[in-house]
Structures are given as C-alpha cells and as structure tokens.
Symmetry: C2
Subunit: 355 residues, 2 copies
Amino acid sequence: MKKHNFYAGPSILSEHTIKSTAAAVENFAGTGLSLLEVSHRSKEFIAVNDEARALVKELLEVPEGYEVLFLGGGASMQFCMLPFNLLEKKAAYLDTGTWASNAIKEAKFFGEVDVVASSKEANYSFIPKGFTVPENVDYFHFTSNNTIFGTQIRHEPDVKVRLTADMSSDIFSRPVDVSKYDVIYAGAQKNLAPAGVTLVIVRKDALGHVSRPIPSMLDYRTHVKKDSMFNTPPVLPVFAALQTLQWYKELGGIAVLEKKNKDKAALLYDEIDRNKLFKGTAVAEDRSLMNVCFVMNEEYKELEEEFSKFATAAGLVGIKGHRSVGGFRASLYNAMPKSSVEALTAAMKEFEKKH
Amino acid sequence: MKKHNFYAGPSILSEHTIKSTAAAVENFAGTGLSLLEVSHRSKEFIAVNDEARALVKELLEVPEGYEVLFLGGGASMQFCMLPFNLLEKKAAYLDTGTWASNAIKEAKFFGEVDVVASSKEANYSFIPKGFTVPENVDYFHFTSNNTIFGTQIRHEPDVKVRLTADMSSDIFSRPVDVSKYDVIYAGAQKNLAPAGVTLVIVRKDALGHVSRPIPSMLDYRTHVKKDSMFNTPPVLPVFAALQTLQWYKELGGIAVLEKKNKDKAALLYDEIDRNKLFKGTAVAEDRSLMNVCFVMNEEYKELEEEFSKFATAAGLVGIKGHRSVGGFRASLYNAMPKSSVEALTAAMKEFEKKH
C-alpha cells in the first residue's frame, strides 16, 4: 500500500533525494566505494560539499558577505551556539512555542534575555504582534515556523537590531530576504535532508564582537574559515541535501515551491474548516503552511481514536498531533505531493460521511 | 575493478552495513518509508536506537553505572564537551599527535592543562612513557590511537585520577576494560558507522561535579536523562552503527576482531620491514594496528609518486599519507578484509621487483 508520510520531522524527502542517495550508498560518484565509507577529503565529496553550499546561496539569493555552513548537532546545538557567538549582554527573543522557548532557555546561559512577547498562555495558538524590540540588545531571535503548534511568521518583524531566526521547519518553503538577517539556522530534517546536519547562514561581519572566548567547534568563525570542513562533516546528510537542492532548482526554485505549498495547505485548511468533525487549532491568520494542526470538534471528541485508525488504514502515516496540542498534525513539507494531501482530505470526507 | 578502501576515515564499513543501510534507504523496517524520512520517534527507530546502545554495552562489557550515547558533532565536539562537564580546575593530557593536541587546545578554554608528556619533537613517532600524572587533576586524557602518525596505546596508563580517552580510531578493534574509564568517546567514522555520529560512554557518577553552568546540549546529563534522544539523533548513522555492531556480534565479538586485526597488521608491517623500498615511520613497539604509516627508504625517495600511481592502478584507494608524515598510510579497520591487505603487500612486492 502507498504510504503518505505526514511526519513532522524527520520527514518526507523527494523521491529524487531518496533514489540517488540509495544509489550512492551502493556506489558513490563512480568511485566503486559506498558514500558511507568515502573520505570527506576525497575530491568527489569536496565537490558535493561545495556544490551544496553554492546551491543554497543560489536558491535563497544569499548576498555577498555571508557564509553557508553544514554543521552537526542539530538546531538544538544552535540554541547555544548562536548566543555563544553573538550575545554579549542582552538579547531579545520572541516566544512562540516549544522550540522558541528552548532557544530562550539556552540563551540565558550567556546573558540577559528579554522575552518581548509570548503566546504561551494561549497554548501558542497565535503569533504575538505589536511587540517592541528594544534597540539596546545584541540581537533579536524568532522561530519562523512552530512545528508543534502549527503557526508561522511569513514576514520577518521589522527591527533595528541584528536579526536571527530558527527556520528549521520552513526553510526553502518560501522566499526569504536573507540580507535582513545576521544568522539563519535550520535543522535539515524537514525540507532538506535526513537528520544529522544543520544549515547555518551567517553574516560574516556579525562575528567576533563578543568578549568571551569560544571553543573552536562552537565558534562560527572556525567553520567559516575552513569552508565548513573544519572537522569531518556528516557526509551522507550533506550529499542528500545536495540532491534535494538540485531537485528544487529543477522544479523552478523557491517561488515555485511556495506556490505549491500555498496550494497544498489551502486544500487541507479548507477541508478542516468545511468538515463538521474537525477544527484547526491555530488562529487563521497565523496558520502554518508546513504543519497543519487540527482536532475533533467538541461534539465528536470521542471519534479521535477511530479517525486515527481510519487514517492509518488509509496509509496516512505520522498524523498524530504532538502531545502539547493533541489531535492531529499533518506536515506538508516541500516534498509532499498534492496527491498525498488529497488522500488525507478524502479520508476526512469519507470519515465525515460515516458519522 | 575491485577497490580496496584504505581511507583513514570516513573509511571502510562491512558489506553487511552497506547493503542493509542501502536497503533501509529504500524501505526501512517494512514501514514503506525510507530510513531518510522516518520519524526518530517512530517505534521502529526507537528500537534501532535502543538495540544499538545495548549492543555497545554487550560487546564492550560496559559495567553498570555507565550510559551509552550517540551524539552529533564529531569527536571534535567532545574536545570541548568533555572539559565542559569534567574540568573544574586542572586536567592532565598526554600529547601524542594532532588530535591529542587539538583536545588540549580546547581543554584550555575551561581550566589549566598539564601536558604530562609529548612526542611532538619527534614528529609524534612514538608514545611517551614513564610520565607521571599528578593526583590533583580532575582527569587524565589520552588518545588511544593516533590516526595520522600510526601509533597506538593498547594498555591504558595506570592513573589514580579519572581516566578519559578519545578512542575514535580504534574503538571495537580490541577489548577495553571500560570500568577503568570515566568517559570514552569515539567519532563513528572508523570502526562503526558513516560520519555524523559520535559514540560516548560515560560513567554517570563522574557527572555533576563542576561548578559552571552547562548549556543543555553540551551537558552529558541531558542526553543520559533522555536515553540519547534529547533532540533528533543522526538517524541514518545510528542505524548503520547497529548494522556494524550486529556484524561484530555475529563474527564472535571484540576478541575475534582483535585477533584478525593483529594478523592483518603483522602481514603489512612484516612486508614493510622486509621490502628494501619501504620503511615504517612509527617506532616498532608503538605501531598502530589500525593505521600503518610508511615511507620510501631514503635511496628510493624519488619512486614515491610512481608507487602511488602503481597502487591506484591496482585498485588500492586512500593510501596517501597525511601531509604531517608524508609517504603512505594504510588504514586497516575492522571491516578491512585480509585479502585487501594481501593486495597491498602483493603490489609492494611487485613494485620492488620492478626496481
């Protein structure tokens, strides 16, 4: 049976990425060796690393003065690496969910943190607006897409300080004006690659302004200096990232992906709003195009378990909602075909008919 | 043509590891999804993670009171993570090569470092002996195998302080008495898995004794508490590690591997000592069983480039020595079959006949 992968992350990757990675595990770039056992200093892998970084620059139109890094450790490592490098006295953070809140927790190890706004009291069902970012902070940080709560910030706040963002779950899903940012980071396991690599885009002149000594591995400058090859990079995830980026380019780039994403998300949100059994959990204007969270309407609450089984039987995988929200979550990352969203809406319609 | 993979790392993995990982990239554990796109919270992956950690414990006979972690970031991250967690005032380090020296550099960010001995002046061609480790240090650190210089410490120094070691390039190659150690770490890309995961074995009661605050991701206790799943682990490298560990168990365990490794290394060292064209670079008693470094004898120096081409033509990949030593390096990790070592010695004999 065809499986439809709605996991929140690690999550669906394109067939192109999967097929070409599987082939490289057998024989990488005609070397006669597996991608799993080839030196990162081989000319074949250096070419992969260079091309992947160049394609990130091309697709996101990264301006001069920035460097693109592929680091190990996950976005959670960036929660501490970012303040290690940028927080001298005080930073401002926007609290829009679990990951934003985790980033805040780590920043506090390095200095004062001004949480400019939070929607925690409303179980993060909306994006706070109208907040002010003080001008005396070292930087402002926000999470562009909240995987768990299904909210998204599609236009960066207009601030007068350095701007940084965790874009783990919506990078490459929409055009971003990188020139407004000093640091963008993203765990790869949503729109880029399998788990094990984190993309970091850093403005070089934002570095070197803190007084604390920084251990080499945690210092962005170390990785910038060594073209992201200071130590052995996660070879396979970087290779897979390149495959995804090549596929994005072939599809026509980020603007094309955004259009597809809007289309897919509208299909599902429309069904949620129409179907008498379900309702969305995020306020409409802040709904994420990547993670669609929904629950059973009050009067149908007892059907939750049954719909869950119904969906599984239809080949819909990974739609259980995070325990913080409950209900369901369908993640519609770039690689998700419209046909899989249609399979989900069809199941919702069919389930509605049964009740 | 059959390729013989002598890379120093990332390096040869067993055919079992490669074939089963390639198969899982197509369809993981019968899920109908690729290993690249499956949630780390799926029951199928949790089983992989648990079994891999249990097999490490079984194969290395890890005693009670220890935890086995699979972390991202590489051994270079451990160079700073270890002192972050264990260095309160002063630590003692043994300087036996490039990686030992890099570990020392990072430890200095956290406290005083007493380098008890170094063979740097002799281009790290031997392991210093007869040194004393002061009893007032928080721990002693050494590198059990020096990949670049081809030396190895097969019996841990007898010290009265906490013992820690970087075993990146010889873990699982020989039995180790884990009970003597407080922390053992190893980048996986030699004897375990593709690049992207680091094995850490930590004695739990060695933690929590430093006064500094430790950011969550850099605190071993965070990962111990969450069974090595605090954040998304590098899924594919962990899966591949499990395949390798299963293969080790099937072969008969670590003692069997050690016997094979001694046998393979003897074959090559004997040829180096016999062949008039070549000589080893490390002193005989400290020779590594994992990385065999050799150069042309003085009177045949000009043949180096020619032998290099001759070896490549014979399918011998990755035998160029590190620039710090020059000449050649053949890495004979666990997965290297004896037949590949024989292919190398045959090429050396044939090249000798030509000259």
